[in-house]
Amino acid sequence: MIPRHLILGVTVLLAITLGMSLYVWQMRGRVDGSDLSAANSQPVAPPVSGATEQVTLYVAYDDTGVLRPKPVRIPLPAGRQERAAEMLRALLNLYLDKFSPHPLGAGSEVRDVYMVDPGLAVIDLNAAFADNHRSGILVEELTVVSLIHTLSANIPGITRAKILVDGKERDTLAGHADLSNFYDVPAVNQVAAQLQNTQ
């Protein structure tokens, strides 16, 4: 005959197991119910502290193949590098928007911008930026010129620019725009002026 205290012990253990199972099942249902869409998989930038300032972003428009200035007010930190990175992140937010005039692939991000004296800006993009970028001379050129011209128009003294992907040099952005060399910023500014003409 099974002792009474053993029966009670097993019954209590079964009750606890059942209760725990119900609790875990309920928790799992809550996690599944929460919407983790692709849009939310983008990294969340830390909040920027600093006064809101007006900057001019040079935004690419695929429909007409042009670059247009767009004044925006964004919070900018004090440091030169951090300001540069924030400007480009503001530009990318436009490109990642649902109604983007120049869509970039999901997960595209500016990892960092390094300002190296004298006059060099190094823009470090993440792999998703380049890997998911559409291929074509104009579409890649619009991206490159938009990034570089936005920096040079808002931060004086930049004479050269280099674009890295995941901290490394890459031959092209998506098969066309050359990333292996340093960009001559005055020449890029001329291209930007050319791209602002619709003719």
């Binding site: 291929s135 104009l138 998506a174 066309h176 725009a177 960009y183 001559d184 050319q194 791209l195």
Partner: protein, 361 residues
């Protein structure tokens, strides 16, 4: 420490095999040697096919009766014998030597020969050039295909006899190729295929106007950007045109080079990444004229500057064309009539520029 002791000392320090040739100043660390085999085919005319175990990109120079390939970046090593002899009167022998850190392969030939790359740079074929095409009388009609002359199966460089050198007016480069598909224009349509089809039409239109044209790739082969530039610079054409296609926008965009920063040409020596600098003015005026020609044919066209290799590595006037569809439908890029319309306009513009471009050589 005597230099001759490196051969015994380095393997112990590095823990791996080395090959050290003191006389030629070549030190190969590890199993990096690139071997090759050479064979002359019995075809008429004969072809010397050299197969390498890794891709190569030699500097190629010519002199009467010889084609010289210098391997400065590849660890090409000698075959069994320094001198290779072949059972051919046209290409009787080749000799291998190492000197000043580089390997050199000299092919002797009794007639002018050309070299071409294939298999992603793993094979070099040396053969007499095809007979020049007889240019047709200037422009009859642009509609429908016209008879084009024989075309080399792959990119010719230069001939070995100056009297027989064929001077190409234009080098047309269908971009991408092989594993490199370029842009996906539609689900099925790859940029590399449209580029090739359009390049064929452009060559046809140019040759119809008496402008000899070399296609850098005539099939689905891949060439590196450096190879494309080397082949073009060796051919010394009056103009280089690389062909791209895109699904964005409409019409044709004509690009000239954006030369990178901080690179200068000093004296007679050209820096590889700024080789285009001296020809930039002529390239831009040629680009502007082509845009006008296209617009006259009611084709939307724009002239732009782009950071696009190998434009900046080309020593002669150089343009890139990005052909976009006539409307939102990218499948129209595949339309023969549309390709013919654009090719005809470009060829007409280049024919107008002929004297100006020839003068710039």
């Amino acid at each position: 420490m005597p230099l001759s002791s490196l051969g015994t000392l380095l393997p112990r320090i590095l823990g791996g095999p080395i090959t050290f040739n003191q006389n030629s100043r070549r030190l190969l660390i590890g199993n990096v040697a690139v071997h090759f085999t050479a064979q002359v085919s019995k075809t008429a005319p004969p072809k010397l096919v050299i197969n390498f175990t890794a891709p190569v990109n030699p500097m190629i120079a010519t002199e009467p009766g010889k084609l010289r390939m210098v391997f400065t970046h590849e660890a090409v090593v000698a075959p069994g014998s320094q001198v290779l002899t072949f059972d051919s009167k046209i290409i009787p022998s080749a000799s291998f030597q190492e000197n000043n850190g580089a390997a050199e392969l000299v092919v002797a030939a009794s007639v002018p020969v050309i070299a071409s790359f294939s298999h992603d740079g793993r094979s070099i074929t040396i053969e007499p050039p095809p007979q020049p095409a007889t240019p047709a009388q200037p422009p009859p009609t642009t509609a429908g295909p016209t008879a084009a002359g024989p075309t080399p199966a792959s990119p010719p460089l230069v001939t070995t006899a100056p009297a027989a050198i064929r001077r190409y007016f234009a080098v047309v480069d269908p971009s991408h190729g092989g594993d490199e598909r370029g842009a996906s224009l539609t689900g099925q349509l790859a940029e590399k295929d449209i580029n090739l089809a359009f390049a064929h039409r452009l060559r046809q239109e140019l040759e119809t106007r008496g402008l000899s044209t070399l296609l850098l790739r005539d099939g689905d082969s891949s060439l590196s950007l450096d190879q494309r530039a080397s082949l073009t610079n060796s051919a010394h054409p009056a103009i280089y045109i690389c062909v791209h296609a895109a699904s964005q926008g409409t019409g044709v965009r004509v690009y000239t080079a954006l030369v990178p920063a901080g690179i200068e040409n000093r004296g007679p020596f050209l820096t590889w990444d700024a080789a285009q600098t001296a020809s930039q003015v002529l390239s831009r005026s040629a680009g502007a004229l082509l845009v006008t020609e296209l617009q006259n044919k009611q084709i939307p066209a724009r002239s732009l500057i782009a950071p696009l290799r190998p434009l900046n590595n080309i020593t002669t006037p150089a343009l890139a064309l990005e052909v976009a569809p006539p409307s939102d439908d990218a499948t129209q890029l595949n339309s023969p009539a549309y390709q013919q319309l654009i090719a005809g306009a470009i060829a007409a513009g280049l024919a107008d520029l002929r004297d100006q471009l020839e003068a710039g050589r």
